[in-house]
Amino acid sequence: MEGLEMYCVELITYVGDARSSFIQAIGAAKEGDFLEADRLIAAGEESFINGHRVHGELIQKAASGELSHISMILVHAEDQLMSAETFKILANEFIDVYRKMGCSFRV
């Protein structure tokens, strides 16, 4: 497999794993398990940072003219990155809302 494809697959793996964690974190908060939700957010962020490192390397390659072509798998990887980023923001918002709901239920 050529170099660019491997970069893309690595990026998809990291940000895809992050996205899964963020979505699972919302589910945990929905069940009232905020400890698990926080753990999943932290795990997701770790994968997300790794994904961003790979993405940074890709951008550097593009800037230095090493990226010879735009492939479908590269577009797909960028798409996954965007989706993970969106879910990160939304998951944190959802967890906050569930936390606040939990507080009001206890009163």
Partner: protein
């Protein structure tokens, strides 16, 4: 003949992995059917599969897919194996799990 269904969100990165797995199977003369689909199509393919492998990007759907799969094993592919497209290790693990399930 073992049937291995590999699922991810679009069926794109798994297609690359499936090619690697097929290469290994051919080299080792293992008779398997391996194919990649997107998670949206899973209901149309699950009957044929002996095992369902999931990409890390749809790990969050594992419970839902297990509910559809019944007694069939549903496994999330190891992140390191997925990221490096290690078809050999993914194939070996899948065959082991099929063996365990039988």
């Amino acid at each position: 003949m073992k049937n291995i269904l590999v699922v991810c969100s679009a069926g794109m990165s798994t297609s690359l992995l499936v090619n690697k797995m097929k290469e290994t199977a051919e080299k080792k003369n293992i008779e398997v059917k391996i194919w990649a689909i997107s998670e949206a199509e899973i209901k149309n393919h699950i009957d044929e599969a002996h095992i369902v492998l999931l990409g890390p990007q749809i790990r969050f759907m594992a419970d839902k897919i297990r509910a559809v799969a019944g007694t069939k094993p549903v496994e999330v592919i190891n992140m390191a194996d997925y990221g490096t497209m290690n078809g050999e290790r993914v194939l070996n693990t899948a065959l082991e799990k099929i063996g365990d399930a039988e």
